[in-house]
Symmetry: C3
Subunit: 350 residues, 3 copies
């Protein structure tokens, strides 16, 4: 019997199954510095202990997506080592701030299974939860992946497709943000004069700048998250694979697009919920990522006069500036340069 | 009205104008580790808490140039987003030690303006000051940049060219260094037997080693400093730009040359003042940086028997060893391989 | 007289000579984060303060190889700046846990000298010891290097070849691990169900995954360790050198192979001793590293019912999966794809 991890195949999953993932991981100031160095985010709350404390945080929390990537990375060896594709995300909520020194662990529950008609693969739906060592839940989200069957001849399970919310109820947002003393929010320091009231539904913002990805960068990032998906790291194998080269971890693109979005959304300091996300096309080293955002909705959160919620679609493109807001063609398919369609709730000071 | 930052054009600046910059930034041990990993400096004071404490520091301060780059990075979105060229530095002083945990902010005052004769650009002089969250000033310096006009037809302002010191008075140096117990300075641990008294004016030191720059390295560094200048990051655009490729941030070269200078100047542990600096030629990934130094002056600082000040010219070249001390040709122009001419005061133990 | 470090030549070494190395170095959470980002290790003890504390550590110790590389790096300017080849390691023991905040220094004693018959080089044997600022020894090991003579005509010293142990006595292992409460070891969190008793002598484990090395990655790593060996950094010179390109620091390969070995050895959480190590062939950026392990021996340590010692041969290959366990040919020479043969004791929970 092999001592190496073969990963789970479609037949290995059962609805209701709970998987505790390795490896617990203490998030540190070192991780936060690397996150800044890899993407260049400039949101003041996550950059400055002094800014964060003045508002009511204990200190600067780590970037929400750093938390996401670390939790996601833990799920890979158990959930998606034999995945053909990462199909989507939904129902993500950030539930508590994560500070350097917190240790993150993750657990996943299988909430849906559906074999594909070809009999070779199936879709696995999991709700993954990240929590700290005292049991505080900091993040949960659903993702679904297409996973290979070990044996095409094995019988299909009864299909269970979970009912996923198209959008997180804004009243469920904001738990990862203490009540802020928003009178102390300093627009000069935060880098944007635009607050919640300055945005409107339907508004589109081209984030202008582009960022070219290097192999060393995405590898360093993906290892930082202890994500072991093979396609990101092994050129010797990938040279003969589907694309002839290493694939960039999809989360790397979310982080790049989010960092680029500072230019236009400088006060959208917190990702409170992930409504949905889709990696539309693969990205490779050498590609330059651009991004634009559309305001899909605006909401007030009961009991919170400090912050408001803005629902944003964040689109990333490769090798194509977003001046014209590339998205979909009339037939509903994405234009050729779109690589990410990410729908999230951000919080902004009022 | 666009929510993205168009940057300031020459017409947007007025003498006396004060700009408070985003984003406040807590410097951490993570930043210090990345700084070491990016340049390889080996100065003992900045590498070792134990070494620094024994001398009188609270702990190891961060590298002076890390402070410089972080402060500089903050000024970019407001000062040089529409710059054609970064023309020079002068009058830089390091005023207090910066330790991990300190939060750095920056403010700039416009101290000079001069339109160029072509009517398309002008020179903007700013004094930028970095300070911690309790208001302690840690660095100030002047830089001047050539900035595009929004409208070539707009009238020229009355020219104001500030009177900049050619050299910082050595009596103004040393505020970022506590009084050291220099009897405890250990030459074996610091890596050099040569103290202040061992150097003499006119001495030239080839630092021997060369360091090749990779795209990932300069991008990681420049994002770490939250420097948003577009030319460093976007190959998709730069492929059609002036050089056909991404430009390395000039400060990256200063840091590389300074780290190389350890070999010959191992006890020059602190940059106390920046008299002047000029990026003579662009540098690109793939280039190998070499460096040499010339001792321009030596000075004692009143009331300090612990350290002396050495004025150094630090020259960096690309793809050319510095055995022959490349600098200028008889006509005063730089030789083709020189990329940096940096004039600074270093402190050394006596 | 030059102020730069020419390094020591064979004639400069004498048996019994003790060299205190620069630069003392405080290891931080930043270094640990970079180590994770560079290699992707997933051992729970080093990843999680919570996991480590529950077992009996003060907090998560840094990776043993991070300690090794930092100590090794300090020895380079004094021992191997003029080395032709790094011939081997032996007799390495990890003596105390290293935590973020500890300051590491190193000292080496010359324990052997033997001139080569060509009269141009000689072999220098040193025992290097790493210790923290309170004098606690954390690591010692022997390495031997082939060093150039300054003058081929200088007389050969009396040859002294130290008697090196082929293997560390397992009773000397374990000092860097506190007595663990191994009942609290959680296999789900550690990522492997296999404990000490599950392995047997002769067992071979292919670690399956491969990792491609980028220039930026090995340069960042090697500078992090303040290792100044020129061959790793200077493409301008190396283009005309033996290989036409920069050489990857051998320790980088050990760390990659060790991180890959998690897949199959997830509970081998600590390197307690280094019996021997040899860099069989050079590695360059672009190469993909694979690894496999063989269990050479198993030993109990007196007085310790918490952990057992497993002696492992760790073989790394380049551009060749380890399915067939590449090692040596019938004539005893290594197969063409093997780059590392590393013999060490790991500790595993019982």
């Amino acid at each position: 019997m092999s001592k190496t991890n073969p990963g789970n195949y479609f037949e290995d999953f059962q609805v209701g199954q709970v998987i505790r993932h390795a490896t617990p991981r203490t998030v540190t100031e070192g991780d936060a510095a690397l996150y800044t160095a890899l993407y260049g985010p400039r949101f003041a709350v996550q950059s400055s202990d002094a800014f964060a404390k003045m508002l009511g945080y204990d200190r600067a929390p780590v970037d929400d997506l750093l938390t996401f990537h670390i939790v996601f990375g833990k799920t890979v060896p158990d959930i998606s080592l034999n995945a053909v594709a990462n199909l989507g995300y939904a129902g993500g909520r950030f539930l508590a701030p994560v500070y350097p020194g917190d240790t993150l662990s993750a657990v996943s529950e299988v909430i849906g299974l559906k074999e594909n008609s070809n009999g070779k693969t199936g879709v696995v739906y999991v709700r993954s939860t990240g929590y700290t060592s005292d049991g505080t839940e900091v993040l949960d989200y659903v993702r679904w992946v297409m996973v290979r069957k070990r044996d095409p001849g094995s019988p299909a399970p009864a299909p269970v497709v979970p009912d996923l919310p198209a959008v997180i109820d804004p009243q469920a947002l904001g738990n990862a943000v203490p009540l802020l003393d928003s009178a102390k929010w300093d627009n000069d320091l935060s880098g944007s004069p635009f607050r919640f009231a300055d945005y409107h539904v339907g508004e589109r913002i081209d984030h202008v700048d582009g960022m070219t990805i290097e192999e060393a960068e995405h590898q360093i990032a993906t290892r930082l998250y202890q994500n072991t998906a093979k396609v990101h790291f092994n050129q010797h194998t990938e040279a003969h694979g589907r694309f002839g080269k290493r694939l960039v971890y999809g989360g790397h693109i979310i982080s790049l697009a989010r960092a680029l979005s500072f230019n236009g959304l400088g006060n959208a300091f917190h990702i409170a919920g992930i409504n949905g996300g889709r990696h539309v096309a693969p990205v490779f080293a050498g590609d330059t990522i651009y991004a634009w955002s559309e305001v899909l909705d605006m909401a007030q959160i009961e009991g919170r006069s400090d912050v408001g919620a803005v629902r944003l679609r964040l689109i990333a493109s490769r090798n194509q500036p977003c001046t014209d807001h590339p998205h979909k063609m009339p037939d509903g398919s994405y234009t050729g340069d779109v690589v990410l369609d990410f729908d999230y709730w951000a919080l902004m000071p009022r």
